[in-house]
């Protein structure tokens, strides 16, 4: 079972929901939490402790200057403009290269081999006996995080219960994260902006054929528009996290309400059950 947590934009409390859901589930059964927000992973902040690292690499061309005749074929082939062939040498720009491997195929002189370069890493932690946390971390300055997301999902593959925390927004990394999930939890705030972002996110998720439900964070009881939208779209609202000083205080110090406040462990366990039930109904 793969659950993905998404939101139209950042700051809605998506990671909070993911961390609490995983923590409460881990009190009963094994669960794997995967931080797919590879540009700014933050789930580990809820679970301090040591970790093991696995590098994520991609292949880029390496040029053998002895064999290369500066014919220019590789540069003409590369549609991303990652190669410039000068009179006396080949210039290569790894940050533009998409690792397609084509230049090595077209080189008439077998002057190109492929070598791995680092893209980022997968950090693995075990904060609780039943909780496995996998964080994808992209190197700073890297343009594309998709391979790191894929590696993080692969590291979790095969585990019985997987919770993915996607990056905010609705861009390619979110789509890559949502793809193949059984069910999606959309986290929103009941504000006009929150509703706008929720609509975008709901559209993306439904276009990928993933059943979705909603968690309203910082709820203050006045959410008619959000509720109306959810009803229209057939999105069940499974949990409301009220705006309260007590909750804010726990969250501001990086705590988990499911651990630190009575009743919230049960609330998140209930959310988990409802989410699973939704996935099963839709299957």
């Amino acid at each position: 079972m793969q659950i993905v947590i998404a939101s139209g934009k950042g700051g809605t409390g998506k990671s909070t929901v993911a961390a609490n859901l995983a923590w409460s589930r881990a009190q009963e059964a094994p669960v794997t939490l995967v931080d797919c927000d590879v540009e700014e992973p933050n789930l580990h902040l809820f679970f301090p402790g040591g970790h093991t690292d696995t590098p994520v690499t991609r292949l880029v061309p390496a040029f053998d200057s002895e064999r290369c005749t500066r014919c220019g074929d590789c540069g003409r082939f590369c549609r991303f403009g990652a190669i410039a062939v000068l009179k006396d040498r080949v210039l290569f720009f790894p940050e533009i290269c998409h690792s397609c491997g084509g230049c090595a195929l077209v080189c008439p002189n077998a002057a190109i081999t492929e070598r791995p370069i680092s893209l980022g890493r997968i950090e693995e932690r075990h904060p609780l006996p039943e909780l496995r946390l996998i964080s994808g971390v992209m190197n700073e300055g890297e343009a594309v995080g998709i391979p790191v997301i894929q590696a993080a999902k692969e590291a979790a593959a095969g585990d019985a219960a997987i919770i993915l925390d996607s990056s905010p927004g609705t861009a390619c990394p979110v789509i890559e994260t949502v793809k193949g999930s059984d069910v999606c939890v959309l986290v929103t705030e009941a504000t006009p902006f929150g509703l706008h972002d929720l609509k975008l996110a709901a559209e993306v998720v439904s276009s990928l054929g993933v059943p979705a439900c909603v968690v309203i964070n910082r709820s203050c009881g006045d959410e008619d528009e959000t509720e109306a939208f959810c009803r229209e779209q057939g999105l069940p609202v499974f949990l409301r996290i009220p705006f309260s000083r007590e909750i804010a205080a726990v969250q501001n110090r990086g705590g988990l309400i499911s651990r630190d406040l009575p009743d919230w462990q049960a609330a998140f366990a209930g959310l988990y059950e409802q989410v699973i039930a939704l996935a099963e109904v839709q299957r």
């Binding site: 220019g72 540069g75 590369c78 991303f80 403009g81 990652a82 410039a84 000068l86 210039l91 533009i96």
Partner: protein
């Protein structure tokens, strides 16, 4: 020596284009003979790496000097590695005006 000016249209009367990688046309002028030849920048609409592709066109056409508005980081590296000088022209004139200004020595070299 060959000079290239980035341009909005073809020919030496065209307006100078201030973008390098995304310039629609490159006008190559042979200083000795006065001949001008226009090359269409097929990569201008590309998603990325347009600067490097354009730098490759400079190399392939034997330009020693480029006159344009500005040059991005990667194109910058490629042009300097290829030993091509870059001058900036922002007076909004034609290719011919830019070449005249270059020959009069009033253009600022940025690379």
């Amino acid at each position: 020596m060959k000079i290239c000016v980035t341009a909005k249209e073809s020919g030496i009367d065209a307006q100078v284009e201030e973008r390098f990688g995304r310039a629609p046309y490159f006008v190559f002028i042979d200083e000795e003979t006065g001949d001008a030849a226009t090359v269409l920048n097929t990569g201008a609409g590309g998603a990325g790496g347009v600067g490097i592709k354009s730098a490759q066109i400079m190399v392939d056409n034997g330009a020693k000097v480029v006159i344009t508005g500005q040059v991005g980081g990667n194109a910058n590296s490629a042009l300097s590695a290829a030993g091509i000088a870059v001058y900036t022209y922002r007076a909004g004139g034609s290719v011919k005006d830019a070449v005249a200004a270059y020959q009069a020595g009033t253009l600022q070299r940025i690379l």
